[in-house]
């Protein structure tokens, strides 16, 4: 089954005519994702390697039946791009863009509550369901199909752990980058709920980092609602207070948001926390093999 993206995904890319958008959109198509449309205002009628371009998401959906949008537009236009896709009824919106103003995302988050659309990201590497579809910038060649659901606030750290899993002979159902911004469309809890319902997923690996209280809330949720085993990793034990560690959301404010507090909250609810990516992969592999 996998989650979020699969063989039924019909992808439109907002910003397909840009350098990054075309590079990654076409890579996704090469992987086997059904790329049906691009959207760039003012460029209707053009095409990118045979993929038709539309002025609006609405026109693209009407013409191609696209059900998933990947947002690859610059930060100042990204919020409008996300709400445009939601207004056009696109069910899954995956926003790769980094650097969107936080208050724009606050408004977008609240706007989406009144719609049927689900947002992944922003500031994320996208979603890969090995053997089925890839939407985003995750290098798919490391990953193999399997039963571990992987979700993370970080890109390269996800690849690192996924690669170590593959070396131990363990594959993934889906890999979901949820994003490194302070406000993201789907939380750990939202995505873990999908993995819990997914037939292909037997085990969940979550990769968190400093900042906010999502990991603490997730620990509570896992305790109450998740029957599948979960393994965690938290990055940023050595991060100082008040400094943004690369991701806009990775910041310890006062005493809140520390890696220590997150690891303790998860362990208190019976979620093993690996000390480094290698240990996380080992813990997951042991569990999968029983």
């Amino acid at each position: 089954m996998a989650i979020l993206v699969d063989k039924d995904t019909k992808l439109l890319v907002q910003g397909l005519t840009g350098r990054e958008g075309s590079f990654h959109g076409l890579r996704n198509r090469e992987y086997g994702t059904d790329l049906v449309a691009g959207v760039t205002p003012g460029k209707a009628g053009q095409d990118v390697e045979g993929v038709p371009i539309f002025d609006t998401v609405e026109a693209a959906v009407a013409e191609t039946g696209a059900n998933t949008a990947m947002v690859f537009v610059p930060p100042r236009f990204a919020a409008a791009a996300i709400t445009e896709s939601a207004d056009a009824g696109v069910g899954t919106i995956i926003c790769i863009t980094e650097g969107i103003p936080a208050q724009d995302m606050l408004r977008v988050y609240n706007y989406l509550q009144g719609t049927e659309s689900r947002l992944i990201g922003p500031n994320c590497p996208g979603v890969l369901s090995p053997g089925k579809a890839n939407v985003g910038i995750i290098p798919a060649h490391f990953f193999s199909e399997g039963s571990v659901g992987l979700l993370s606030r970080s890109g390269t750290l996800t690849y690192q752990i996924g690669n170590e899993l593959v070396q131990l002979g363990v594959g993934n159902s889906s890999i979901v980058g949820i994003g490194g911004d302070p406000v993201i469309g789907s939380s750990f809890i939202d995505v873990i709920a999908l993995f819990e319902q997914d037939d292909q997923t037997d085990l969940i690996v979550m990769v968190g980092e400093i900042g906010g209280d999502e990991e603490e809330r997730t620990a509570e949720y896992i305790d109450q609602h998740v029957t599948k085993p979960v393994i965690a990793y938290i990055a940023g034990f050595t991060a100082p207070e008040g400094k943004r560690m690369g991701h806009a959301g990775a910041i310890i404010s006062g005493s809140s948001g520390t890696a220590q507090a997150k690891a303790e909250a998860l362990e208190a609810k019976g979620v093993p926390v690996g000390r480094n990516p290698t240990e996380v992969a080992k813990l997951a592999a042991e569990k999968v093999r029983g």
Partner: protein, 388 residues
């Protein structure tokens, strides 16, 4: 981006939030002139982005021009918890009848804007009991409404006769928060004067860095001299760098991977000198820029370059590193961990190169152990030539 008190007050004034009139001064003479223009008594306040200014002697009342000058003389150049005072703000001393606390906060957890109000102002808000602080969440799509104001004042313990004025100020603070793309707007204390007017006597404002492109007035307030020199150099080059105080320099591709690398180095007994994300990080020019920033910290005794090649291939990164080493003189050992796409080829390129300072490694843990050992050896030797 955090603003100084007077910058926050200037922005408040443009958004209709009542603040005392005042002037900024960078010399004792300027402070004297400001005080004479404003009338006595005045308060001379150190402008640094840190709490506890009063306790450190950075806030003083002056009753005449000579005293204002003397206070400014003492405060300018003062060190307050590691920060040097370059500017003072001079404003008329206020007649304070009551001190309240007010804040507008970006609440990432609740996905809303949080307004806070308390009659217990003038002290550290973390020390105020929960039940003395009124909290109201505002949906940014709806905005601040009169009933939000009523809910705030009724739970805050403030005096009834100034409630309307306080609510009006909260509304203005909310508008300023939204208009300025703020992450935090805090007024502590918000005062009631003897003649029952309200004023923002302090201002703590933090603006979203991602929104500076549309906040040109705020962006201009940035003061490079107040920042750490290495962090400043990194910012000018568009590099994400955070300075720490250890001796193992660390760089890699991707924020999460670099954070994790810091942790693994610490687990192996080393002390990270910094966080540095090179992003894509394959090109020689990018690597030169990053290494120069990292090595400008003279405490660095060994470097760990941690690359996980995804779409970027490890052989490209290896070639980039070799070209970078041709361009700058690096005298400390560099452990390069290459894993991911074309990693074997990348490590082969490094091993074959004639670069004695390079130490290729395969896994993160191996690399961390090696760099910690090398940093210790280097410190045993005691000195090194400055790199970069």
């Amino acid at each position: 981006m955090d603003l100084l008190e007077y910058q926050g007050k200037q922005l408040f004034a443009t958004h209709g939030v009542p603040v005392p009139e005042g002037r900024v001064a960078v010399t004792p003479q300027e402070a004297r002139e400001a005080a004479e223009a404003l009338g006595f008594p005045v308060v001379v306040k150190a402008q640094v982005q840190i709490g506890g200014r009063g306790k450190a002697g950075g806030i003083k009342v002056a009753k005449d021009a000579a005293e204002a000058e003397a206070h400014a003389e003492a405060i300018l150049g003062m060190d307050i918890r590691g920060l040097t005072v370059h500017e003072v703000w001079v404003e008329p001393a206020s007649d304070i009848a009551a001190e309240y606390y007010a804040a507008v906060v970006f609440d990432r957890s609740a996905k809303n804007i949080l307004l806070m109000l308390s009659a217990a102002g003038g002290m550290d808000i973390e020390e105020v009991a929960e039940d003395q602080i009124a909290r109201v969440h505002v949906n940014p799509l709806v905005g601040f409404a009169p009933e939000d104001g009523q809910r705030l004042t009724s739970g805050s313990g403030i005096d009834d006769d100034v409630a309307d004025q306080v609510v009006a100020m909260m509304g203005k603070l909310y508008d300023a928060f939204v208009a300025l793309d703020a992450m935090l707007v805090e007024v502590n204390p918000l005062i009631v004067t003897g003649d029952r007017n309200v004023l923002a006597l302090d201002a703590k404002v933090s603006i979203d860095d991602n929104a500076l492109f549309r906040q040109p007035d705020v962006a201009e307030m940035r003061d490079p001299s107040a920042e750490d020199p290495q962090e400043q150099m990194a910012k000018e080059r568009g590099i994400t760098y955070v300075k720490l105080d250890g001796e193992v320099g660390i760089l890699g591709n991707g924020a999460g991977l670099v954070m994790s690398t810091l942790d693994v180095v610490a687990q192996e007994g080393g002390r990270p000198a910094n966080f540095l994300d090179v992003g894509g990080g394959a090109k020689a020019e990018e690597i030169v820029q990053a290494l120069e920033v990292l090595l400008s910290d003279k405490k660095v005794r060994a470097v760990l370059f941690n690359i996980f090649g995804g779409i970027t291939r490890c052989d490209e990164v290896a070639n980039g590193i070799l070209q970078a080493l041709d361009q700058i003189d690096v005298s400390v050992p560099i452990v390069v961990r290459l894993d991911g796409t074309n990693d074997e080829e990348g490590r082969r390129i490094l091993a074959q190169a004639d670069a004695p300072q390079l130490h290729p490694a395969k896994t993160m843990i191996e690399a961390a152990q090696l760099v910690v050992e090398l940093a210790k050896d280097e410190s045993a030797v005691g000195s090194r030539q400055a790199g970069g």
